[in-house]
């Protein structure tokens, strides 16, 4: 969160640390070649790095453009002089899994709560399935399920099924209705909770509790799920299970998911699109692959035997972008960004001419973490430590 006075300065900082791109139709937001509201490059190419291989067409849904399921327009939340969410606009199409990333205090949870109507925004509107969340919350909530970070979200002293029945009751759904009961059974089965349905939630593991919260959020056959840190505290297996279920629900049921996470692997693995929030603003809105590509540079890690002279180091630094340079005994390690891949032989030659013997030359692949750090203006650490 920050003050309005700091707003412009911060905006400038973010803009200048970001490389030039050819696709910034919004002056502040890094956005790829899709228009506002369209699904980003959810093309086969982008999803090819996902193992399930079924994400390209969302289970064969037609490619026709439908109205966005979520439309956020100029959403702003101020607390006195502090701007927690600053003029945020975006839209999300059906079946999309949107990840909201941002450092601590960036405004992710505030954004999510404002989208859910749990916060009264200072300005702006949020529409879910065409319904204004703040003007007509009850209708909007019929289409929405949510789990919030740091909250139990469900009643721990009730069983899994009792929770489902209670939350169904909040929507006027009777658990005695065979159709509702069947839906609960299906959901429990999908989340691998069927045989734990009569267990008191308090007796379940943390991962299971998280699944119960998800089940309750989805029990009403909602169109949109808002999930704040859904994998927080889960072990690897539970986290993978949960991701798989969310992916399947998005693909098979057309569920639209908005999730926040600090876990880059969750976002990278699961999300179709990523919204990077920093200091209350959306600084990037794109597909995972596109964001990674945006920050792709031909960086190489060169390791040579031999301590290179300071003159050689200075000369290389003068001609190339050296991201790190370490000398460890008789071994020198450098991470160097290349403008052209063809520059590699010349760069290698400079190390050899400086008295080094090449041990290894590796290309460094960028990832979402790197993109995130650059977008949020945080210091890049991943390349330096790998």
């Amino acid at each position: 969160m920050r003050s309005p006075a700091a707003s412009n300065a911060a905006r400038e900082t973010i803009r200048t640390t970001r490389p030039e791109t050819n696709h910034t139709d919004h002056d502040e937001t890094v956005r790829s070649d899709h228009t506002d509201g369209e699904r980003s490059n959810h093309t086969d190419g982008e999803r090819s790095n996902h193992t399930d291989g079924e994400r390209s067409d969302h289970a064969g849904r037609p490619e026709t453009r439908e109205p966005p399921v979520i439309e956020v327009s100029n959403l702003t939340k101020r607390y006195d002089e502090v701007v927690a969410v600053d003029d945020v606009s975006f839209s999300v199409e059906q079946g999309t899994i949107l990840g909201v990333l941002g450092p601590n205090g960036a405004g992710k949870t505030t954004l999510l709560k404002a989208m859910l109507g749990l916060l009264v925004p200072t300005e702006g509107t949020v529409r879910v399935c065409g319904i204004d969340v703040h003007d007509d919350p009850e209708r909007a909530y019929r289409r929405v399920g949510a789990t919030l970070e740091g909250a139990r979200n469900v009643y721990w002293r009730l069983t899994v099924r009792e929770n489902l029945a209670f939350f169904g009751g909040l929507a006027g759904e009777s658990a005695r209705d065979p159709a509702v009961k069947a839906r609960h059974d299906t959901l429990l089965d999908q989340l691998d909770l069927l045989d734990r349905g009569d267990d008191v939630v308090n007796e379940l593991s943390r991962g299971m509790k998280q699944k119960v919260a998800l089940a309750c959020a989805l029990a009403r056959d909602v169109d949109v799920a808002f999930l704040d840190e859904p994998t927080l505290g889960l072990d690897v297996e539970s986290s993978v299970d949960l991701r798989r279920e969310l992916r399947r629900l998005a693909d098979e049921r057309g569920l639209t998911v908005v999730l926040t996470s600090h876990d880059m692997s969750v976002v990278e693995d699961l999300c179709d699109r990523v919204l990077v929030v920093n200091q209350g603003q959306v600084v990037a809105d794109d597909g995972v692959t596109s964001l990674v590509e945006l920050f792709r540079t031909s960086a190489v890690r060169i390791v040579v035997d031999g301590r290179l002279s300071a003159t050689t180091e200075q000369a290389i630094r003068a001609d190339y972008t050296v991201e790190s340079w370490e000398t460890d005994g008789d071994r020198t390690r450098a991470l160097v960004a290349l403008e052209e891949a063809n520059d590699l032989p010349a760069l290698s030659a400079r190390f050899v001419e400086g008295g080094g013997r090449l041990v290894s030359v590796n290309t460094v692949e960028p990832d979402l973490t790197e993109a995130f750090l650059q977008l949020t203006g945080s210091e890049s650490t991943t390349r330096g430590t790998r």
């Binding site: 749990l118 009264v120 919030l148 029945a165 006027g172 009777s174």
Partner: protein, 267 residues
């Protein structure tokens, strides 16, 4: 959908909601029997201490005021239960993080709170009824318990307490730490139940006071609901409903303020 169909659908949803809230409360009472019985026992033991202690100190003279004591204790037990179940429950739900889920209820947060209130008052009558039976058995006294009188008078008496509970719940959402006032108000109910409304009729406007006065007359004097002057019944209803309406309005106002400040679910 026609307005008739909409009304029917709303009524159906409200019934299901009431069922869901009541079922949850019942499950918790049944699942934790030690807690349930312990709560009832604590209320009874406190009465027994007053009763046997009073008799030991005041002798037979104590019996003169025993009927009033029983009725007052019956009403205060129900008031504590209704107040705690509403205000205390909102605080607990905020701590748990389930309050935000209730806020997002598709039937509407207002209806959820209304359903919770109805169920709370109904359960308060159960607690009060059980305590009353234990008190009557212990003291060997007989009181007039005409349900057609006791229930409506009790409901409107508790309605004023519910109104106060709504205000406290709203304050708890906004300011979080309100336990000291919360406890203080509970003691206040004891005083209100014993308020001398005949000597100072203006006290009838305070929560619980008019209800307590009428309940005393109904249970100790055998006065039926329709035997009360219309004015007295009117005051009971107006005060009860007034507190509920104003209390709920303040609750919604404070809830909105909590949403503006972003502290709805925080504790």
């Amino acid at each position: 959908m026609s307005s008739n169909a909409t009304t029917k659908e709303t009524a159906r949803e409200m019934l299901i909601l009431l069922g869901a809230v009541a079922r949850k409360q019942y499950i918790l009472l049944r699942r934790y029997p030690v807690n349930t019985v312990g709560g009832l026992l604590a209320i009874y033991v406190f009465f027994a201490l007053i009763f046997f202690g009073g008799r030991a100190v005041a002798g037979p003279a104590f019996d003169d005021s025993l009927d009033s004591l029983i009725v007052g204790y019956f009403l205060v037990t129900m008031a504590f239960s209704a107040y705690q179940d509403l205000a205390g429950n909102v605080m607990t739900e905020a701590q748990w993080g389930t309050l935000e889920q209730l806020y997002m209820a598709p039937v509407g947060f207002g209806r959820v709170m209304a359903a919770k209130t109805v169920v709370n008052v109904a359960f308060s009558f159960l607690w009060g009824g059980a305590t009353l039976v234990l008190m009557l058995v212990t003291t060997g006294r007989t009181l007039s318990v005409d349900l057609l009188t006791v229930v409506p008078v009790g409901v409107f008496a508790l309605a004023s307490v519910v109104g106060v509970g709504f205000v406290m719940a709203g304050l708890a959402l906004l300011y979080k730490r309100v336990n000291s006032i919360f406890g203080l108000l509970q003691f206040g109910f004891i005083g209100l139940a014993a308020a001398p409304v005949e000597a100072a009729p203006v006290l009838k406007l305070l929560p619980l006071a008019q209800g307590s006065f009428m309940l005393q007359r109904a249970m100790t004097g055998g006065v039926r609901l329709w035997e009360f002057p219309l004015r007295e019944v009117g005051i009971l209803v107006a005060v009860g409903m007034g507190y509920v309406v104003v209390g709920y309005f303040v609750f919604r106002l404070l809830t909105r303020r909590a949403r503006q400040r972003g502290v709805l679910g925080h504790y």
